[in-house]
């Protein structure tokens, strides 16, 4: 009988001791977590693309709560989502609640002050409540790959190394005769967190505008620096980034811009100009009428929507 009591006393005593230690720890080692962070994380796109410079959306949310970054730092979020984040930050800002109560007024989990009346609380909650449709609106910019070369751009040698553009570009300057030609090893496809870049049958990668969220990861990864951000409304793009003179380009590529100037003349909106032997579209003026596409002798000008295989 005594044995049972001893055992119970020891186990119970240990439990009591551990309980005291745990209670002490929970008080002394408590890390104050900002209740806003979890809400902000929910409001962010949640794809952890890293375009903001933070490792992931949760870290960006923490930085938002600290006030070290602005909501505009997330380029992937749609304008509506950004507005929602801004509204949340305004209302949940430590300075004062939307109802005017100062920072020390005490708050509930959503960061709404406890002094608000129920009606006010509901208004604020409505403003913060994500609509039934989660944040999936398109970003304002998308990436486009300014090369239409592919098999029509001349190779100087056969590249047989590791399938990575960054290595290919270091191998004697890349296997293409043109210094700004796509090397077709798929590094942009690999880094895209949204699977928005696909390989065309002819070997060239192409951005699918509906899937691109404008995170610029491909822009940073491309060793040739031929991926550019254009307004989402862009209808036409120049599939070349070679600044070489016409005759040089013609020797290297069948699709390259030879700076003939036909598109400049054909453009009714005067949206195209020639810069360093390359046609450049001013997207604030371009109406997408397609006149330039029809006159371009090398088919450098192309519609964004159509697959580029319109040669």
């Amino acid at each position: 009988m005594m044995r049972v009591l001893w055992a119970a006393a020891i186990v119970g005593g240990l439990g009591f001791l551990f309980g005291i230690v745990l209670a002490w720890c929970s008080k002394k080692l408590y890390v104050a977590a900002d209740p806003r962070v979890s809400r902000l994380t929910d409001l962010l796109p949640g794809v952890n693309c890293g375009a903001c410079g933070q490792p992931g959306c949760a870290n960006f949310a923490e930085a938002l709560a600290d006030g070290t970054v602005q909501p505009s730092g997330c380029v992937v979020a749609s304008p509506a989502a950004r507005k929602k984040i801004e509204a949340f930050l305004r209302q949940a800002a430590p300075a004062a609640c939307a109802c005017g109560t100062p920072a020390d007024g005490g708050r509930d989990v959503a960061g709404v002050c406890t002094l608000c009346t129920a009606a006010e609380k509901k208004d604020i909650a409505d403003a913060l409540e994500p609509e039934s449709e989660p944040v999936e609106e398109a970003a304002q910019e998308m990436a486009l790959i300014a090369c239409g070369g592919g098999q029509r751009a001349r190779n100087t040698f056969a590249y047989t190394g590791v399938a990575d553009c960054r290595i290919a570009a270091k191998t004697l300057g890349g296997q293409k005769a043109c210094g700004s030609a796509c090397l077709e090893q798929g590094t942009c496809i690999e880094v895209c967190p949204f699977q928005a870049i696909r390989v065309q049958p002819e070997g060239l990668p192409r951005v699918i505008p509906e899937l691109c969220r404008g995170c610029r990861k491909c822009v940073a990864a491309c060793p040739r620096k031929i991926i550019f951000m254009v307004p989402r409304a862009a209808k036409i793009f120049v599939r070349c980034h070679s600044r070489d003179k016409g005759p040089v380009v013609m020797k290297r590529c069948a699709v390259g811009c030879i700076a003939c100037g036909k598109c400049v003349k054909a453009c009714v909106a005067q949206a195209i100009r020639l810069e360093n032997n390359l046609a450049v579209i001013d997207y604030t003026r371009c109406t997408g009428c397609g006149q330039c596409v029809s006159v371009c002798p090398t088919k450098t000008m192309s519609f964004v929507e159509l697959p580029p295989a319109v040669v």
């Binding site: 100087t156 040698f157 590791v162 990575d164 004697l172």
Partner: protein, 433 residues
């Protein structure tokens, strides 16, 4: 107890018998040279001439401001026809000066012997070496005058006569044929750096060179020690040679002068001697043109800017169509896409491989035999990095320090699964940026 060496490495098949006994011959004057303005590590030169100018042999045609750079000189006399982009054996395409020869090879009158170099101060020596455009002739083409002005105290000068790359014999021929001039050059470098101890490392598969040097050094009573080192690739790599000769380890990311050592190639010492004693700028170098299908493999003294095609043709052409033309040796050399590329300061050899020699077996899975681990001269784990690269896990590979890899390629050479280990490590290196 064998000769001195480092940990790791591998005895690779050398193929040096093709040109080992071929005395250096001068190539005929090329009718046209293309002299790239980027022949060295560092800042690219500005051209000092324009199309239509007449230039003389040895005339300076390009220079740049800045520390890490070296001027370039005309290698023939004649008329400048083009100043613009041209093929380059390392960069693919780079600015260059094209000169059509007038056949006379008139020397620039500015080239005059310096008189007694013993009267020159250290700074004068270094500035002469810079003016002559001398860079490391082993292949990396790092400007020599920068090496000679180390930012930290240095007590050892190592002369690299190892030539561990298979096929190449140009340094060996220089060691055998022109030992006195090389020793003069070493003396100059020694004074320029201001050190007491000088080691001359020569691989022990070159007994004639070792004997020649030991004899000359003792006959001239020079304070140099000639050290035979074990035949092993990459014995001639800077860090490995330092480890073998003076048992110092260059820490990751550091340079030889951080451990008090300056390393210079034997060919560079010769060029320095020519520059100081004769005032001759670096406009020619010795190149090994070799390969089993080359009719007459040779060691050639050639003017910079001569095209590879011309040199191969002068060696009798090839018996079979060339499958690959490599600048340098087969281990670290660069395959070329055109035989029209010019010889530059860093061209130590032109290796022609036939299609039959270019069998590239399919890559097999790693069997963890650890041969690459044994062979790695930097004591890295190449197989682990290779696997990480294949799984696209650059982050995970960071613990294996891919940035310490010297890209000698010995891991790929020894791999029984024919894995392209070095390519995978290079992928990690560019991915890390």
């Amino acid at each position: 107890m064998g000769n001195k060496t480092f940990v790791g490495g591998w005895h690779v098949w050398s193929h040096k018998e093709l040109t080992r006994d071929a005395a250096i011959v001068a190539a005929p004057l090329p009718p046209r040279v293309v002299i790239p303005l980027a022949q060295h590590a560092g800042i690219v030169c500005r051209p000092l001439v324009k199309a239509g100018d007449t230039v003389l042999t040895g005339q300076k045609i390009g220079d740049a401001e800045g520390l890490i750079t070296a001027p370039v000189h005309a290698s023939i006399s004649g008329k400048v026809t083009v100043v613009g982009d041209a093929l380059h054996p390392v960069l693919g395409s780079a600015p260059a000066v094209t000169i059509e020869s007038d056949g006379a090879d008139r020397q620039d009158p500015a080239i005059t012997p310096a008189g007694d170099p013993r009267g020159l101060s250290r700074n004068e020596l270094v500035s002469r070496i810079r003016a002559a455009g001398i860079v490391g002739l082993g292949g990396a083409a790092f400007p020599t005058h920068v090496k000679l002005s180390p930012q930290k105290p240095v007590d050892v000068l190592i002369i690299n006569g190892v030539e561990c790359e298979p096929y190449l014999t140009c340094d060996y021929r220089l060691l055998v044929e022109r030992p006195d001039e090389i020793l003069d050059g070493i003396g100059l470098l020694q004074r320029a750096v201001g050190v007491e101890k000088v080691y001359i490392g020569i691989e022990d598969d070159k007994p004639l060179a070792i004997r020649t040097f030991q004899k000359r050094v003792s006959a001239l009573k020079l304070p140099f020690s000639v050290v035979p080192v074990e035949v092993k690739y990459p014995q001639g790599a800077e860090k490995q040679l330092i480890k073998a000769l003076v048992d110092r380890e260059v820490p990751p990311g550091k340079l030889p002068f951080d451990v008090g050592v300056v390393v210079s190639n034997a060919g560079t010492a010769l060029a320095a001697a020519e520059a100081v004693f004769q005032g001759k700028p670096l406009y020619e170098r010795t190149v090994t043109v070799t390969g089993t299908t080359v009719r007459e493999p040779k060691n050639i003294r050639v003017r910079l800017g001569t095209s590879f095609a011309e040199l191969i043709a002068w060696c009798g052409g090839t018996t079979a169509p060339a499958g690959k033309i490599v600048m340098g040796g087969p281990m670290m050399g660069l395959a070329q896409f055109s035989d029209a590329v010019p010889v530059v300061k860093g061209t130590s050899g032109i290796l022609v491989l036939s299609t039959a020699e270019l069998v590239l077996p399919p890559e097999q899975p790693c069997i963890r035999c650890a041969r690459c681990v044994d062979a790695c001269p930097m004591q890295l784990l190449p197989y682990a990095m290779s696997l990480c690269a294949q799984m696209k896990q650059a982050e995970r590979a960071r613990v294996y320090n891919p940035s310490d890899c010297i890209e000698c390629g010995v891991c790929t050479y020894v791999c029984p699964s024919k894995r392209r280990i070095l390519e995978h490590i290079r992928l990690l290196k560019v991915g890390a940026k």
